[in-house]
């Protein structure tokens, strides 16, 4: 019997090629989108999972802001780990990382610039469940000047050779040598803490690149990432409470807090994170989109197949007359829907596999459908299959409920209830479509709004150049060389100006320093806020196009030093001065010294416009190893830039023959902060377009259904003189009503959702009324187009054909 069902299903699908194509296409697009989005969502949720990761927590610092403690810093003090281990028996072990940022590794024959180097405690291997490919795990990283490489770095430096015992020079301003004592596997891409090599913690003591103030146990520098492993049986919430309650007598207005390592990537997002975090809001939105698309494609399927089932009425009638039971008919219909759905799933999976490399490129992730991932995919496919069976059930039941006599006569005008169901389905489709459309418009508007924001600084044509000088000449000589370099650069015809700067807008937190505790000009001691500051040369403000609204840049004394500072408006506001001009020559006190304000610049966005403007202090430095170079605006062509870059490098090499050279266009770097948002917006657009396409398919199905149902009515109206336009009006008016209903439901829901999304931004665009109107009009437009296509054919038909079949 099942073979026969199967045969009928296949023959039916082949016979109704357009119907099968539309239906399978709609489903396949829906399922493929669902799979791809969910693979991404799963990937984002899979961060930092390893054997025992559920017991690993990161310690971070809460700062007292006003009366409440808020998460203040992802990093902590080097005493945090040892203190917790000593005082809480639940804490089994700790490991600390000190991130080295960009370093240069030198061996006999190679110089490599490597990011993500780290100084770490030997307990790392145990807590992070790392095995050594080479070396002895019991001794690794216990001795000073030892280094453990990741497999790919080892491969890069030493090829296939066993690297144990080899020596590497590590440069970070000043160099130290380190002996390779181990090789670990590469860390998975889905870790929030990327590592390329680890230097032993004790190496610090022999390395003058690390400040003396950091070498001894202290509560002054919170520049370490501290991870603790807690006892399996510990209630983490209780422990967290105990750690919070312990307080921190050692540091004013701070306390320790912990968070699960598994949640860092999506939930943490604190200042000084090891890398830009993901966003749980984005993940929630994407999950919602995935389900919306999937449900849309099911609704579409239900609509189309119920519609099409009208044509099967005769067959059902015959089957009933020759003895089929309802159950058998339901099973047959379900079997057909399963065949159709499974082909759709197969196509969807193939599509997903084909698209995956492109998708990886787009998302910047390394997702794959490997065996261990398949397991995670199973629930996704399960949901899909289950939903499909449910979706197949409705048409099946509708079909099997036809009374045989009516079915044979073709009188299958279904019950009012059936119409309601389909109406509901269509309204739901419109609703989802409008919500997605509003979402797309809002996201696009917000991204444009952010990018058009004045950032208070002109980043155009500014390059940051730096390099590692690989000589052992004294620091003072190198400093002089930098001074020479600056002068040489300024002489280049294509260079407008050049200045030193430790960091710049868009560079993030990495090179920015911060402190707490400042005495205002009126004598108040403020100890709660974090004050961000950095050092630059005098030309910095000119290079960056930052505008002074009071005072001017620093004037170093004859020895080349200055205790003057330039601040932004926000800073002036914070210290309680209302008239900006009054701020000039006022003194503030921090780091046990007085600093005189010589200039106030307009507020600018240091962290990108996603974060609010914060008070900033800018200190003077005579030289630094990062130079900002402002190019003449006359340079526009690619070849122009290439020749300038050549000139810069030549100038650089003439001053520092033995060194590396890097450059960054800082406007590009600034824009990179919106990379994720841009991708989110792109994803929104793509998936919305797909959703609309699927919804249009469903609409197409429903219209053809209505046209069949009302064929006779249309015929009679035409015979009695109705014009084509009148008929079109008649057929379209219902759909317009439904769009209206869906629109009204969609407004509050999308308003709420998009409002909560905008909460993530410091600068937010408004949810203007026209967004909703535009979305509504677009939905209406698509509807009218789809519907009119079919109803026009119906309205244009010869009424005689319509009236003949009685």
């Amino acid at each position: 019997m099942y073979t026969l069902y199967f045969k009928i299903a296949i023959r039916y699908l082949v016979k109704n090629k357009l119907y099968s194509f539309i239906n399978i296409l709609g489903l396949a697009i829906g399922v493929a989108s669902f799979i791809l989005i969910m693979v991404y969502v799963n990937y984002e949720r899979s961060y930092d999972k390893f054997e025992g990761s559920e017991n690993v927590y990161r310690v971070y610092m809460d700062y007292l802001v006003g009366d409440v403690y808020t998460p203040g810093d992802a990093q902590s003090y080097n005493e945090v780990g040892p203190t917790l281990k000593e005082e809480f028996e639940e804490v089994l072990d700790y490991t600390r990382f000190y991130r080295l940022g960009k370093t240069t590794l030198k061996t006999n024959n190679q110089i490599l610039e490597i990011n993500n180097g780290c100084i770490a405690d030997p307990s790392y291997f145990d807590i992070f469940d790392q095995k050594l490919a080479y070396g002895d795990i019991n001794t690794a990283l216990k001795e000073p000047n030892t280094i453990v490489l990741t497999a790919s770095l080892s491969q890069k430096i030493f090829g296939k050779e066993n690297p144990l015992g080899k020596t590497i020079q590590v440069y970070r301003d000043r160099s130290t040598s380190a002996t390779v004592v181990g090789v670990i596997k590469d860390l998975p891409q889905n870790s929030h803490f990327k590592i390329n090599y680890l230097l032993s913690y004790t190496t610090m003591h022999n390395w003058d690149a690390i400040g003396d103030n950091m070498k001894e146990p202290n509560w002054n520098n919170n520049v370490y990432f501290t991870y603790i492993e807690i006892d399996d049986k510990t209630n983490a919430n209780l422990l967290q409470k105990k750690i919070i309650d312990r307080g921190l007598d050692e540091v004013n207005d701070e306390r320790m807090n912990i968070e699960p390592i598994e949640e860092i990537h999506l939930y943490s997002n604190k200042p000084y994170e090891a890398e830009a975090n993901g966003s749980i809001t984005r993940i929630k939105f994407l999950t919602a989109i995935a389900f919306i698309i999937l449900i849309l494609s099911w609704l579409n399927y239900i609509n189309l197949s119920t519609t099409k089932s009208l044509e099967r009425a005769k067959e059902i009638g015959i089957r009933k007359v020759v003895g089929a039971q309802k159950k058998q008919l339901v099973i047959q219909s379900l079997l057909e829907s399963i065949i159709l759905n499974i082909s759709a799933i197969i196509i969807a999976v193939i599509l997903a596999i084909i698209i995956l490399p492109l998708y990886n490129e787009f998302t910047g992730k390394t997702m794959s459908f490997e065996v261990d991932n398949i397991q995670k995919l199973l629930p996704i496919l399960g949901i899909t299959l289950l939903g499909m069976i449910l979706a197949g059930l409705y048409p099946a039941i509708v079909l099997s409920n036809y009374t045989p006599l009516k079915a044979l006569k073709g009188k299958t005008r279904t019950s009012a209830q059936g119409i309601h169901v389909r109406k509901g389905l269509i309204i739901t489709q419109f609703f989802a479509t409008i919500v997605l459309l509003i979402g797309t418009i809002v996201v696009t508007k917000q991204i444009n709004f952010m990018q058009e924001q004045p950032i208070g600084s002109d980043l155009n044509n500014v390059l940051a150049i730096n390099g590692e000088v690989l000589t052992n000449v004294s620091d003072s000589l190198i400093r002089k060389d930098y001074k020479v370099l600056q002068e040489e650069l300024k002489k280049l015809p294509s260079v407008a100006n050049a200045s030193f700067a430790v960091t710049y807008p868009g560079d993030g937190y990495d090179n920015l320093s911060s402190f707490m505790g400042i005495t205002f000009p009126n004598g108040t001691l403020e100890e709660q806020n974090v004050w961000y500051n950095y050092e630059v040369g005098s030309d910095y403000f000119d290079v960056m196009g930052m505008e002074f609204i009071a005072g001017k840049a620093f004037m170093p004394n004859s020895k080349g030093f200055s205790h003057d500072i330039v601040v932004n408006e926000e800073f002036v506001k914070e210290i309680g001065i209302t008239n900006i001009d009054e701020a000039i020559h006022k003194k503030v006190k921090f780091w046990n010294r007085e600093w005189g304000i010589v200039g106030v610049i307009k507020d600018y966005h240091h962290f990108g416009v996603k974060s609010p403007v914060v008070p900033i202090l800018i200190r003077y430095t005579p030289t630094k190893d990062v130079l900002l170079v402002k190019l003449n605006s006359s340079i526009t062509s690619v070849s122009g830039y290439n020749s300038v870059l050549n000139q810069l490098q030549t100038t650089w090499s003439s001053v520092f023959p033995e060194s590396t050279f890097n450059y960054t266009f800082i406007d590009k770097k600034f824009q990179e902060q919106y990379k994720e948002d841009n991708k989110f917006s792109d994803a929104f657009k793509i998936f919305t377009a797909l959703a609309i396409f699927i919804a249009a398919l469903g609409l197409f199905g429903l219209t053809s259904y209505t046209c069949i149902q009302r064929k006779k009515e249309i015929g009679i109206r035409k015979v009695n003189g109705a014009s084509i336009f009148k008929i079109l009006q008649l057929l379209n008016i219902d759909f317009i009503k439904w769009v209206g209903v869906a629109f009204i439901i969609a407004i509050p829901i999308s308003w709420y959702a998009m409002n909560s999304w905008l909460e993530n931004f410091a600068v937010k665009t408004s949810l203007s009324w026209w967004i909703f109107v535009l979305a509504g009009c677009m939905a209406l437009g698509v509807t009218l187009l789809t519907v009119s296509w079919q109803s026009f054919i119906a309205a244009n038909g010869n009424p005689v054909d319509a009236l003949r079949d009685e």
Binding site: I8, K15, E315, I318, R319, V322, G323
Partner: protein, 220 residues
Amino acid sequence: MLLKLNNLSKWVQSGGQKVFLLKDISFWVNEGDFISIMGPSGSGKSTLLNVIGMLDDFNEGEYAFLDERVHNLKEKHRANLYKQYIGFVFQSYHLIDELTVKENLEMPLLYKKHGSSERKALVADMLDRFNIVGKKDLFPAQLSGGQQQLVGIARALIANPKLILADEPTGNLNSKQGEEIMDIFTQLNKEGVTIIQVTHSEKNMTYGSRVINLLDGSIV
């Protein structure tokens, strides 16, 4: 006696009034009868046939089929009854377009729990009997009207029913094809199958042994 109708009536409500489709119908059918139901359009011929075939219900009166009181039976039981004993032949054949001749014949057996080899044997018998072995792998659309009706009759017969209900079986056929079909009915009747046909045609009527004339839902 195969079936008996007693004062059977069927009506619909229209504008607050009862409109009778069938009114006070009483007659009986013996096994081996060949009955023609005649009457003008709208006289209730097809409705009566459908009531007899249990595809349609009625509002009043009694209907006994093989001593089972149909009016008291539950839906499922009633369905079982007609599936077991009644075969239908339609004016427009009503074959399933997606199935071949062979598969169309096999379909009723699928719903009656016959083994696969038994089904094959029965289908082969039918194909033989109606001389359509050569057509067994064709689809209905590839056959002439007369051939399609042959398949329709074969399908009605395959489960070995006691009664064949035929609603204008030759209505869509030309006269030669119609004669062939009527000859087959006569032959079947001789073999003991009871036949009730609805017809417009005086000529077809003559094949039957008894005529029931309907006018406005009543026997005249």
